[in-house]
């Protein structure tokens, strides 16, 4: 059955390719460090299950130290702006076809596995259908693009490395933050924060309790980087005992709008690195927090809207 194992092998090979391409890149003065960084990434994907817990811990430590010393950027691909423009003129709208084929394959793959009956489910792990389809799309469309537009055979790796070096060490941050979340959970950080919130704020009126829950979901999400970590703590601490039991609110409406208040927090926090910081790196923005700044006004207004919506909609018995 095709599942995470095969996806990880493919990812490992791609990162190994980045490491080799880094070494062969004389234009990058820090090529050894880049090769080490992407090589350790490859090692994690190819052999992570055999390294042991401590081995994996040392691996992250080595990657973080390498990254903190400073990585360079791949020197290839920068100089051929003229070639890109010429290729764009020659191929025109046909360039969009492979770009559109990626979502089509992802869509067909995940729907096919979900609704394809026992044969499809035996072939591909249904839980990983999206990631498997995305990997397949990446492979097929890269090959097609090379053929269609007569690109060098190795160009997916050299150009992939160019983008990977644009993101740099930021590529590692989302996964390390997920690991930090696990350590927080192990140490019971969520429970302590939740307790503090419920102890500090008074909730004598329904509006105050609604505000504590919505703002708490957002604030907690900012601190933990993830609305999923905030939800159980804030809902068990505030929503169920007070909003549902005391004020008679509808649990479905309260939870749904509470979660969306958490999403407002996700828009505001650097700890949600895959949404907020990695795109800033990928788009070559000088300000690491530029995406958060662009989102902040919408996030604050929607947080207010959510609080009002919950107050108005979630208490049908006592409007």
């Amino acid at each position: 059955m095709i599942g995470l194992t095969q996806v990880y092998v493919l990812a490992g090979l791609v990162f190994a390719g980045f490491a080799v391409m880094s070494l062969r890149d004389p234009a990058n003065p820090r090529r050894w460090r880049n090769a080490l960084f992407w090589g350790l990434f490859a090692l994690s994907f190819l052999a992570g299950d055999h390294l042991g817990d401590l081995g994996n811990g040392l691996l992250v430590l080595a990657m973080a130290v390498t990254a903190a010393l400073g990585l360079g950027r791949s020197g290839t691909g920068a100089e051929d702006a003229g070639a890109r423009a010429a290729s764009a003129r020659a191929h025109g709208l046909r360039l969009f076809l492979p770009a559109l084929l990626v979502p089509v394959i992802v869509l067909a793959g995940s729907l096919g596995v979900r609704h394809g009956g026992p044969v499809a489910a035996a072939l591909v792990d249904p839980k990983q259908a999206t990631l498997v389809s995305l990997s397949l799309a990446a492979l097929v469309v890269a090959a097609l693009t090379v053929r269609l537009f007569r690109q060098p055979v190795l160009s997916p790796l050299t150009e992939g490395l160019r983008l990977a070096d644009t993101v740099g060490w930021m590529a590692l941050l989302p996964q390390t933050l997920a690991a930090l979340g696990a350590v927080f959970a192990l140490a019971g950080v969520g429970a302590v924060v939740g307790e503090t919130v419920t102890r500090v704020f008074s909730m004598d009126t329904r509006l105050a309790a609604v505000a504590v829950y919505c703002l708490g979901m957002a604030g907690f999400t900012v601190l933990m980087g993830n609305a999923f970590a905030a939800f159980p703590v804030m809902t068990a601490g505030v929503a169920l005992p007070i909003l549902v039991k005391v004020y008679g609110g509808d649990p479905a409406a309260i939870c749904a709008i509470g979660m969306l208040s958490g999403f407002c927090g996700t828009l505001l926090t650097p700890l949600a690195a895959n949404f907020n910081l990695a795109p800033a790196a990928l788009l070559d923005l000088d300000d690491r927090y530029a995406v958060i700044r662009a989102q902040a006004p919408t996030a604050f207004i929607l947080l207010l809207v959510n609080t009002v919506l919950m107050h108005v909609l979630a208490f049908p018995a006592h409007p």
Binding site: A11, F96, A256
Partner: protein, 224 residues
């Protein structure tokens, strides 16, 4: 019950990000402080962190898409996206962003969260289009870098906002399943449909609020 000491890690993260230290080192320091406060030895913390890191590899597996996007860019996709905007007269910056916001919310509401995204759509197609549209509207052929960066950041934010406030309308998305499971543990049975319908008012509000911001951004004159 855990002591307040375990909050040290949270404070470290906040302070570390605020003063702009390397986030990877900040995260490791925070994990160490949190683990020590919870009574683990440094080696135990490193092992716990390594285990969780290994279990979360799927987060980084998303970078698999980089080679195909890279080779498409080498073939001229960004340039093609820019010139397409030049040929479509009616497509302004605001209309492009509004259409993308609607597309992202609507497809996410159908559960199609992975058909677009920052790496797949924003960097190679939408951001160059937005820049080109903005440049032709303001009559500045070569936009200065800070204005171009603002446009790109706004496009990236629009993708996140469309995704976050669309996906919860879909029944089988992770957050809905988390809520159903959590409520069940607490003795409350809720159908996924009941949760997802309550995501609709906020989704509409998100389109209106961010839509207004798009219109305002589109009318803003860049500083000369």
């Amino acid at each position: 019950m855990g002591s307040m000491l375990v909050l040290l890690g949270v404070l470290l993260v906040v302070a570390g990000f605020a003063v702009g230290l390397n986030p990877l080192l900040v995260v490791l320091a925070s994990a160490l402080a949190t683990g020590l406060a919870a009574g683990l030895s440094p080696v135990e913390v490193l092992a716990a962190f390594g285990k969780a890191f290994n279990e979360n590899r799927y987060v980084s597996a998303a970078w698999l898409i980089l080679p195909v996007i890279g080779v498409l860019e080498r073939s001229g996709l960004q340039e093609a996206a820019r010139s397409l905007i030049g040929r479509l007269r009616g497509v302004t910056f605001a209309r492009l962003m509004l259409a993308y916001l609607f597309f992202r919310q609507a497809t996410a509401a159908l559960g199609l969260t992975s058909i677009a995204g920052q790496t797949q759509t924003i960097r190679p197609i939408i951001a160059p289009m937005a820049e080109a549209a903005r440049a032709s509207e303001t009559g500045v052929e070569a936009m200065d870098s800070s204005e171009a960066q603002k446009v790109r950041a706004f496009a990236a934010g629009t993708d996140n906002i469309g995704l976050f406030f669309g996906e919860d309308i879909f029944l089988a998305i992770g957050s809905i399943l988390l809520m159903v499971g959590f409520l069940e543990q607490n003795g409350i049975t809720v159908e996924p449909l009941h949760l997802s319908v309550w995501a609709i008012p906020t989704a509409i509000a998100a389109f209106i609020v961010h839509g207004c911001r798009i219109l305002v951004f589109g009318r803003r004159r860049p500083r000369p």
